[in-house]
Symmetry: D2
Subunit: 343 residues, 4 copies
């Protein structure tokens, strides 16, 4: 339980100083609660500036919260959501999406954590058949849970297919900033321009203390969300402290600087790991995660010096995540330790 | 949407400087997420120090979150929770308790927002009858939603009655610190010593940025809570920032200083209001809320200068809340304005 | 557990011989399941004949099933249903409406089991306020749980009010036939002509073996019901046996003959009871139920000879229900026994 | 929508005459509702006679009802149920298990519709990890959805494994009688003697009009079921008509006679189909279902003359079910038609 450095998750990092400063700056006087304050209005304007005039912005506390609010708002209990079998909503939320929405999640096996039209098609049947949960949403994760990134064209292709079946496209964007940096595009191009209907925008892993946002493509889609956010326990009373963080993150390209740094650190780690013959990188390193198969005897001693998680125990696959505060020295020390332990 | 001073709610206040300082101090290096960190261990120890060795501490984001986690952990969908018809869980959570637990809430009319054994008895029937939601929990709010405070003996009497029927006692303690100060007792005497099974401990209204805690009387009751907290979207990844606030609040009696101040401000307000013949105080002022019936023509012009909410429009009853940062000057200006508007 | 005669409930009666005959008659050969059979088509036509061309007919197993399917189809978890505090959905379904819909039920105290616009108004607030469950449906029971009957004008007044607030009117018609007979009107005049949006049509208490129907005013309202009926476990595989009963009930005025008889028996019982000074009838006897306050010492010995339930133990109020198979002799014996026991 | 003969499902058959007779015989006089009647007591005794003294019997309306009541009684929303990806609970109940229980279903791919310890093991991880739905139940279907039958030893092996992890074994026994006949064992040997904790006992497909039963291995497991059955809308008011059917089914070996006949018809069908080279039987024919891959051009014209369903459209696999009322002539006509259409 000590504060050793690590590669466990980007949420093991702290809060970026500019975020902390923003929190201090709004800590003055009285402000109406629950989002009717001026700081939230500013954050809303920022989101519209970044994602487009039509979007609707609903800040929540965390990623699971953003996902369950997104899903509940657009589908009903007799519907189904198609997602990958490694998606966060499917494996890491203790069944929250099913519990909150009452709907079914339909998992798809993938090689790289990314859905395609062909993979989605497996579950595109049973429409109108009342014994079958009716598919109504596809959920993709950008950056995917395997560290890979959908191109804009890939997203568009999925969105077109989904919309042609009167369904919705949800993007779990817990690491959306890393994806935009990876693709060299704007956040807007990769999301609503590409056909996303509702986005779980991730702030925490990108340097905030807490806070994600549910962002809808337009007001019609967001019609009921305010009640659903409240009922889902995701409405912050002292909202100014969530909103101020978002404003800071989207100002002076903080979101981009943080993502650039963590992506760069992952690239560097991958580069150095590639030189170690006993370690095999298993997925393309496109953002801030490196997945490797390692010699089993390495795992335990390495974990004593650096936090990280096993990804797939059955084949000794590990996941190493970098974050906005990972240093070159962290990488050097980590690689040095791996080499030492392997010899 | 400007930052005018007000008496709308204690959550319109900002964050106490000692809390903000604590957030800065833990913002260093990497820490494992989701509560397995040393800062959460420290907060846990604090809670055990304050509430007793046996208690189990589960931090969450907000009050509705604390309430739905408390309820879900101890009851099942075929059960019912007896509460007042002005309780926060019954009227102010957009049906979250019913939605999350699947259970029924059984409301009781009261004069002062407080349950008694006699009032609870109205709903104590139908046990074993499968057509009837089985009462399994009583929920009391301390300070009550009408600003009144249960005495320790009143809580004990309810707890004994509830336990004699194999039921649980939940306390919604959104303003628990104000109650302890009001009674001049410790937090422990008023809660677990008096027979409370599970407590929603309120931090936000007492000066934190966000954060409440679900506290169980013992480990047996808390058996499943960690899954329920996660599934209810109430698990903070960067938990150190919730925990550090709790530690600060329970250190150097910050919780008490804040509550003492806001109670004192409410008492002062009540004292001055009592001198205005057109305004009638409707509930005992025992903590940090003042409820009054006012001349209808006062309401709108007064709200233009100070935030506050109507409590009961049908009889022109208003609610004025003080907070840790209410100043004597706020009170003076407010009363002055009232007097001016009434003349 | 013996087969003594009684006045406990109209569901203590058996199945009408014409219903049993209908079940035999369709018991021939193979038929496709789940409602795509010709017998269900015939029943559907009968319902359209009786209730109007536009209605949509969805047979289910029982009354609680009909109510939860009705509610779920038209409202969402952040909504609320306004109903009386004696309504079946509120007190006799073990919380099924809340559990299935996730929504809140808002109870109203009444004198005679009937809602009025003024009573409904108590809960008509908080629209657009996200902390408040949004009222979206009013549910009335015809015949009410206290044996009283809404007039057509009373229903119309409620429907107009409800619709003017963009809400839906649900009628729990467990004893709808008794109401139509009581009012001397058609089933259509009392339901969809008067503005009902969705009806739980009751077959079981009127002589069927099992089976109720969810009937919508039009196809738009019924858009999702088939999935909801299935997911709510209310879809009968061998549907022809539900549908054939409905066809029999609506043919040759069986529904009317049964209701006329039971209403007549209740009237006779009430007439005779009125002559007994120690027994006080508490509600107008407008259909097939008689509510009385009786001397407490009467209850136990009388229950030994005839089934019946206590309605309100606190004031020794009992409920006596008649059914299609209650005989004049039953009434005579019952009254004789009461008189004997009182002397 | 005509009454053509078919092989679509055993629920396309009618009601066995002995069942219909039993329904007539109990149609006499008044009986208390909801299961406290003497006919239900008799059925309960029958179940104890057949399944063992310790079992608890709870009649419900249908299979989906039996499954959701079974699941809800033994697990909580943060749990998961391991099942095959062709199981009825996973694919044919419009998401009812997830909606009612709030829990997750974890699907497993199989070759023959049957789980094994090795297949179950895929999902046996994440225990104690709060981000992961906690596996708490395994559900097997006997006869499986692919027409195959678990041996007693196979069930025992699964039960032992499941219990060693403090989990429950559920058996979906929609066609349990066909399985017992197939194995030549008693119903008890194949269920509670083998370690089943809760059984969905199927009556409808075996000749009843409606009705399945939730049967628990002992009273402790059944502790809360009565409330859950009611809340799940599965409690029949005129229960005598469900119970009388069960008593008839378990008397004079009606259950066995019906199952023997349908199994025999399936065997005969399989035998004749084996002679047709263009049709390939894909699963062992162990009960009353025959799965085949057929030439695509056969499907439509054959369906015009006999009801049946596609099983897997992607490979032209069809499912042909026999029932207690399938005749040798049905088989002959069916095979003759197939041969005719193929030439």
């Amino acid at each position: 339980m000590s504060n050793i450095r690590g590669f466990a998750s980007d949420n093991n990092a702290g809060v970026h100083p500019e975020i902390l400063k923003a929190l201090s700056e709004v800590n003055t006087g009285h402000t109406v609660g629950y989002g009717d304050d001026k700081y939230t209005a500013i954050a809303r304007d920022k989101f519209k500036e970044v994602f487009g005039e039509d979007v609707e912005f609903y800040p929540v506390y965390n990623g699971t919260g953003a996902n369950v609010v997104s899903i509940q708002t657009l589908i009903r209990p007799f519907n189904a959501v198609i997602c990958t079998d490694v998606s966060h909503i499917y494996v890491d939320e203790c069944g929250a999406p099913e519990k909150h929405s009452g709907a079914k999640l339909l998992p798809v096996k993938t090689k790289d954590g990314k859905l395609t039209m062909d993979l989605i098609k497996q579950h595109m049947h049973g429409f109108g058949f009342e014994h079958h949960s009716q598919p109504k949403m596809v959920s993709i994760t950008q950056v995917s849970e395997l560290g890979t990134v959908y191109t804009i064209d890939e997203i568009k292709a999925i969105a077109d297919y989904v919309h042609s079946h009167d369904m919705y496209l949800h993007m779990d964007g817990a690491r959306i900033s890393n994806a935009a940096v990876s693709l060299g595009c704007t956040l807007k191009e990769m999301t609503f321009d590409a056909g996303v209907d509702v986005l779980s925008y991730g702030g925490t892993k990108n340097g905030m203390m807490f806070g994600e946002a549910v962002v809808f493509a337009n007001a019609k889609l967001a019609e009921n969300v305010k009640y659903i956010r409240k009922q889902s326990t995701q409405l912050h009373s002292k909202m100014r402290y969530t909103s101020a963080q978002f404003t800071a993150l989207l100002s002076n390209e903080l979101w981009k600087r943080n993502a650039e740094h963590s992506n760069k650190m992952a690239a560097k780690l991958a580069e150095k790991i590639a030189e170690i013959p006993q370690v095999k990188i298993t997925q393309k390193v496109q953002a801030n995660g490196v997945f490797c198969i390692v010699p089993p005897e390495l795992i335990e001693p390495l974990q004593k010096e650096f936090f990280f998680y096993m990804w797939d125990e059955s084949r000794n696959e590990v996941r190493w995540m970098t974050s906005f505060d990972t240093t070159e020295e962290d990488i050097d020390n980590f690689v040095k330790t791996i080499k030492k332990l392997l010899n």
